[in-house]
């Protein structure tokens, strides 16, 4: 996979969720360039171009990060915070997609600079609809940040 063209980074530890999400995105023809990270550490390696992703550059970030909160190793909140604290990554749109809609999670996420927060709907039809709208909005409707937004200082 050409990592230079990654459009969505899906951070999700649960394989079933990964499959259902990818299924929904694929149905909408939005899953051409999707990178899946199975835990927070993988996600951070990818986003900060290190480890296995050392070849990547900050100038080519994903168009959208779909981030689960409950993750092994480094949880979603930590990933969000590191992302939004670094000038090279803070412009990347991040939407949290999680089972919880705890108020403290909402508060913390928005205070950390999240761009969207979605509770995964229980029923699959609704879930599919949400994923479709997300993909459409962030990859089609929304104007992405320019490359200069990802430079430090």
């Amino acid at each position: 996979m050409n990592s230079a063209n990654v459009e969505i980074l899906l951070v999700e530890d649960n394989l079933a969720d990964v499959e259902l999400t990818l299924h929904a995105l694929r149905q909408e023809k939005l899953a051409n360039h999707i990178e899946v990270a199975r835990d927070g550490e993988e996600a951070l390696d990818f986003l900060f171009c290190r480890g296995p992703h050392a070849g990547r550059t900050f100038e080519n970030p994903p168009r959208l990060v779909l981030l689960d909160l409950k993750l092994p190793k480094v949880d979603g909140m930590e990933v969000l915070r590191e992302l939004k604290q670094d000038p090279r990554t803070k412009a990347i749109p991040v939407v949290i997609m999680t089972a919880s809609r705890e108020e403290k999670d909402l508060i913390y996420s928005y205070q950390s600079g999240v761009n969207g927060y979605i509770q995964k709907p229980m029923e699959f039809d609704k879930f599919r609809e949400v994923v479709k709208q997300l993909g459409l909005y962030w990859l089609v409707v929304n104007e992405p940040p320019p490359a200069s937004a990802f430079r430090s200082a």
């Binding site: 969720d17 995964k120 699959f124």
Partner: protein, 748 residues
């Protein structure tokens, strides 16, 4: 107790117990003392009065005595002088009647002849000399009418002009004369002249006086014969004196030598107008006795007389000082006696009063001490300087001192700090203030025992008016035990508090764990449910043509079960969220809230005939979001259980009750049996079959949780098939009341 000595005074000296005179002492002693004062005053006046009377009568007596003495002295001397004068005059008359004198002076037959025969003159001189010698006169003279000496005794001094003049006058008028000669008393002479008249003849003297032929003159010497007798005293005195005075021009001439004058014989003269001079009174002819001044200016008691025929005055006098010497001594003695008597009397009175007072004081003090000793606390009486003047046995015991070790010591020795300041504060107030002050409330301080150990005390002060000024009674209570007890109570309380807070922490931890567990379970349960639903759906969508009818039905059942479990998980999550959530209270009008909830439920009301009866509801203080859940749950229940009714009725109303609002939601649905009423609000408790009335069994548990969080109570009443009513209470806001009272069953 060595302090019960009644003879001790009220004054306190260190180491000696004070005499505390309580207020009762003076009140009983005072009237007695007043009568003593009266008696004392009366006695003093009587004694002094009688002494004065005595002195006065003594004075009179002295005066009378001296009057008698001086008068008799004066009278006697006057008489003596008069007799002396008379005798001399008689001598002069005798001389004048001498035959030789007559012969010498008579013209006789040889009238006109101026010269007296020498023989006759010799004979006259001899006769005169004999007379002078016999009577001791310095000189005896015979003079003719012209004042010429025709004969004299031998050694007779030459006559002065005054004598010549006197004899000429006598010869002319026939008046005998007495004249004092000489300026100096101890050389004085007195001349006595007597006229010599012719011998009366029977023939020519029927009534006519015989012709005067000349004068006889005797020069007498009073210095030798008279003056000494003036001063002779039958009772000798120091200052008794008789003075003889006469006028000489403007002056008073003291004739005889003076006993008391330092200048003695050189002659004493005083101005004629000198007031209070006894001599002056005598010369004025007054025969009196009284107080005068003598020639020295000294106060004297004097009797004044006049010597007849001479114009001389006589004063018999004695110095007042001598006259009253005995009297003065008597007065002094008497005064001393009176004074001594007074002092004695006063002493007796004072001693008696002190004795009485002391007895009263003793009695009072014994009472006071008994009270003091009977006090259960340590009692110490201090004066305003902080000195301990009295203490009881308890005080000795408590502080470990012997009584005499504390008396007179400053109270600071046993109460280290805080007390003196209070005392000073008390002293600064007026005594009345201090007395008016109620018994001081307890002040907690530290006391120090003799062995130096400290212990907590509580002191109470009360001022006491005494003979020594304001004293302060200090009640001292050892509060060690109380403090220990207090400390134990505090420890127990602290232990209790610690245990309670530990329990609370434990409970909170358990609660948190429980909620975390519930949350996490619900949270994690959702994911597989989603997955089951998701893949069932995908299976149906993508492989439907290959599935038999039964498989599709099973898949539909799986999805339905999944959906219900999802609902239950969501409701459970909601319940735990309410448990954790902080209320955000606002004053909320329930009518508008109810309308909003009703509006949200409209999709479920489609195809239903539901009559809503909503009364005017109160404003309450609540969390509006949670209160919406309450009404939403209650309304959807009501709608659910009235589904079988042709005409559903849902009533919402309120009643005021004890400052609370009771809100109710009533329906005419299927209701429930009251014997299950206690199960109604439990989680997952259901009273109906799932196929009859869907639901998770969490709705009423949620309602109860919310109402309880608001401090309210929730309950239900129902009768099977006749409907149910759910009640809950809410607190009324402090300052907000509904404008209209709620109307039961009225339309909104």
């Amino acid at each position: 107790m060595n302090s019960d000595n009644p003879s001790r005074g009220a004054k306190t000296s260190p180491g000696e117990p004070a005499r505390v005179a309580p207020a009762a002492g003076p009140s009983t002693a005072k009237p007695a003392f007043r009568s003593y004062l009266w008696a004392f005053g009366l006695g003093t006046v009587l004694v002094a009065g009688s002494a004065a009377l005595h002195v006065r009568s003594e004075y009179r007596k002295v005066m009378d005595e001296w009057q008698a003495r001086q008068s008799s002295v004066a009278d006697y001397r006057t008489q003596m002088i008069s007799e002396w004068l008379k005798e001399r005059q008689a001598d002069a008359q005798d001389v004048a009647g001498e035959i030789t004198v007559l012969r010498v002076l008579s013209p006789g037959p040889e009238r006109g002849r101026m010269l007296v025969p020498a023989r006759l003159t010799r004979e006259l001189n001899r006769s005169l000399d004999r007379f002078a010698h016999v009577h001791g006169y310095p000189g005896v003279y015979v003079l003719d009418p012209q004042g010429r000496v025709v004969g004299h005794s031998t050694k007779a001094p030459e006559l002065e002009v005054a004598s010549l003049e006197a004899s000429r006058l006598t010869a002319r008028t026939g008046e005998p004369r007495i004249d004092l000669l000489g300026a100096v008393p101890d050389r004085r002479r007195v001349s006595f002249t007597y006229s010599v008249s012719a011998e009366e003849t029977e023939t020519d003297s029927t009534r006519s006086r015989p012709p005067l032929l000349g004068a006889a003159l005797i020069l007498a010497d009073p210095v030798q014969t008279l003056f000494p007798r003036l001063l002779a005293e039958s009772v000798p005195t120091r200052t008794g004196e008789v003075t003889l005075v006469r006028h000489d021009g403007n002056e008073i001439d003291y004739v005889a030598p003076l006993r008391l004058a330092s200048i003695g014989a050189t002659g004493m003269r005083r101005p004629h107008n000198a007031a209070a001079l006894a001599a002056r009174t005598a010369l004025a002819g007054q025969k009196v006795f009284g107080e005068f001044q003598d020639y020295r200016g000294v106060s004297v008691l004097a009797a004044t007389r006049r010597i007849p025929q001479t114009g001389w005055g006589l004063v018999g006098k004695i110095d007042r000082a001598e006259a009253f010497e005995q009297f003065r001594q008597m007065v002094i003695v008497e005064g001393l006696a009176v004074g001594l008597l007074g002092i004695l009397l006063a002493g007796v009175l004072i001693t008696h009063r002190r004795y009485v007072l002391t007895r009263v004081l003793d009695r009072e003090e014994k009472k006071f001490r008994a009270l003091l000793e009977a006090a259960p606390d340590a009692m110490v009486v201090v004066n305003q300087g902080g000195e301990i003047v009295l203490l009881n046995r308890q005080a000795e015991k408590q502080f470990g001192y012997r009584r005499d070790e504390l008396l007179g010591k400053n109270v600071k020795n046993i109460i280290l700090e805080g007390f003196a300041e209070r005392l000073i504060a008390d002293a600064l107030r007026s005594a009345e203030d201090a007395l008016a002050q109620e018994i001081g409330s307890g002040v907690e301080l530290m006391g120090r025992r003799k062995d130096g150990s400290d212990f907590p005390i509580e002191i109470m002060l009360s001022p006491l008016k005494s003979a020594e000024g304001i004293l302060v009674t200090v009640g001292i209570r050892d509060i060690s035990e109380r403090q220990r007890a207090g400390e134990r109570v505090r420890q127990i309380n602290t232990g209790l508090e610690a245990r309670v807070s530990a329990r609370t922490v434990e409970l909170e931890v358990a609660n948190k764990e429980l909620e975390a567990f519930t949350y996490s379970v619900s949270h994690d349960l959702r994911a597989p449910l989603r997955h089951i639903d998701g893949f069932s759906k995908l299976l149906l969508e993508e492989h439907s043509p290959h599935l038999p009818e039964a498989a599709r039905r099973y898949l539909a059942l799986i999805r339905d079960a999944t959906r219900r479990m999802g609902l239950m998980v969501d409701d459970l999550l909601n319940l735990t969220r309410i448990g954790r959530k902080e209320l955000s209270l606002r004053v909320t009008g329930l009518n508008s809230l109810v309308e909003e909830v009703k509006h949200n439920l409209e999709p479920d009301m489609r195809g239903r005939e539901i009559e809503w009866r909503i009364s005017t509801l109160p404003f309450v203080e609540c969390d509006p979001a949670l209160m919406k859940q309450v009404f939403a749950n209650l309304f959807s229940n009501a709608m659910k259980f009235t589904r079988s009714r042709q005409q559903a009725l849902i009533e919402v109303g309120s009643e005021a009750n004890d400052g609370c609002h009771v809100i109710f939601v009533r329906d005419n649905g299927v209701g429930f049996s009251m014997k299950y009423a206690d199960k109604l609000f439990g989680v997952f408790q259901r009273l109906h079959r799932q196929e009859d009335f869907e639901g998770t069994g969490i709705g009423l548990a949620t309602v109860q949780r919310i109402i309880q969080k608001h401090g309210g109570r929730v309950w239900a009443e129902s009768e099977l098939n006749k409907g149910a009513a759910f009640y809950f209470t809410l607190k009324a806001p402090e300052n907000h009341r509904p404008e209209h009272p709620p109307v039961e069953g009225g339309q909104p």
